[in-house]
């Protein structure tokens, strides 16, 4: 039996919503079949007020073993580093985060806000938000760069806005069933099993990407969304086209560009009109090129690919 405690900081509850939609295993299966004992969760916990506080205190004192601490949402430090804007059970939430992280065997940061700061940490960051062990690309965050949980692992980052239910449940199951040793994390502490490939891996528009045929409107069934609509699929690490959403589809399959929500810099847009869902260019060349491709190579490749493109690539191949 692995005890799990889940708290929310500067969050919209999106990751909770996503988690509650999990199937195979569902949140219930985690409890009944995988030995996860949910001590408390914002939507599932039954304790209120003093009882909730007593429960957390018993985790902090060591009376109750805390195996997995999941944190969703940013760590809020405002105003002036006090964290008073986000109080919970009698103290700033950030104090609970520190106390519980020090006691937990595993600490899981869930969603972009908890991992890297996400939307709340966008400039000018009025809530003084940061992620558990990162602020955007910079290692450190609230717990500091050297933090490791009792298991010896740093914070396990499961980014996403929100994270896919399977990313969460599979990591929780791995940890609860004693297979955490199999987890390898990348430089941003994301489990490599999910975050080594790109959103583009498995995208149905790959042929259009290869032949440089562009979609010019959302939902178009032909064309790739990289050239005009700002798709970040070629430079975003996620399994969104390998582990489908609702077991059905993905953003890019449906004709909606990837926003890069699993990368530390998300959200990438700078709030200027016309910068969202639009490929940003410098003298007509995309500002952000597919990972590992340089500008010269990109221009050469595009010329050659367009010249070689077959006629069918310009037509709608997904005919009803």
């Amino acid at each position: 039996m692995a005890n799990l405690l889940w708290l929310q900081g500067g969050a919209c509850s999106g990751n909770t919503m996503s988690f509650l939609n999990a199937e195979e295993p569902s949140a219930v299966d985690l409890v009944t079949d995988f030995g996860i004992n949910i001590l408390w969760h914002p939507s599932l916990g039954v304790e209120l007020g003093d009882n909730m506080k007593a429960l957390m205190e018993s985790c902090v004192s060591g009376e109750t073993d805390l195996d997995i601490f999941v944190f969703e949402g940013s760590v809020v430090n405002a105003p002036n580093g006090t964290g008073e804007w986000n109080r919970f059970a009698g103290k700033p939430m950030k104090e609970w985060v520190r106390l519980l992280s020090d006691k937990a065997q595993f600490v899981v940061a869930l969603g972009d806000c908890a991992t890297y700061g996400g939307i709340p940490a966008m400039a000018p960051n009025p809530s003084e938000s940061e992620g558990m062990q990162f602020l955007k690309r910079e290692r450190g965050g609230f717990l500091g760069p050297d933090f490791v949980a009792k298991s010896g692992l740093p914070v396990i980052n499961i980014p996403g806005c929100p994270a896919h239910p399977d990313w969460v449940t599979q990591i929780l199951v791995a940890v609860a069933s004693g297979r955490a040793g199999d987890l390898t994390l990348d430089e941003f502490q994301r489990p490599k099993t999910f975050f080594s490939s790109f959103t583009q891996t498995g995208c149905t528009r790959n042929m259009h990407f290869a032949y440089k045929v562009s979609a010019t409107e959302f939902g178009q069934r032909k064309g790739c969304l990289f050239y005009d609509l700002g798709c970040r699929g070629p430079m975003t690490h996620s399994p969104c086209n390998r582990i489908l959403w609702n077991r059905q589809s993905s953003k890019t399959r449906a004709g909606m560009p990837c926003l890069g929500c699993t990368e530390p810099e998300f959200p990438f847009f700078d709030l200027e009109p016309g910068t969202l869902f639009k490929t940003q260019t410098v003298m007509g060349v995309p500002k952000d090129l597919p990972t590992g491709v340089d500008k010269k190579g990109y221009i050469k490749l595009t010329g050659a690919a367009k010249a070689a493109s077959p006629e069918w690539a310009e037509e709608d191949m997904f005919v009803v």
Partner: protein, 104 residues
Amino acid sequence: MSDSDDKIRKQAEKLLKDGLKTEVFPRAYTQEQIQDVLTRIRQSDGSLEQRLIIGGFTLYPIEDEDIEQACETCMYYLVHRRYCELPELDVPVEAEWSCRLWRI
């Protein structure tokens, strides 16, 4: 489709050969410039002439910092149909033409 494409392509070519003054410069490089050109096209009468003028069309590629900006390599260009699919322009073109909305 291709007959009517040919007809419009020829019209465009004739207009440009006859000396239609188009706004070749400044090239639309920044997001603001692109938006500005697109908005002006949307607000124009939408005629072929206006699209050519505001789009800054030429019958030859414009070169800037060693990059040749021809329809041929532009991501809005359909190679087989010889067509510009940018919704605001939506016009048959030739591979060696160019406009200031070029992007690769």
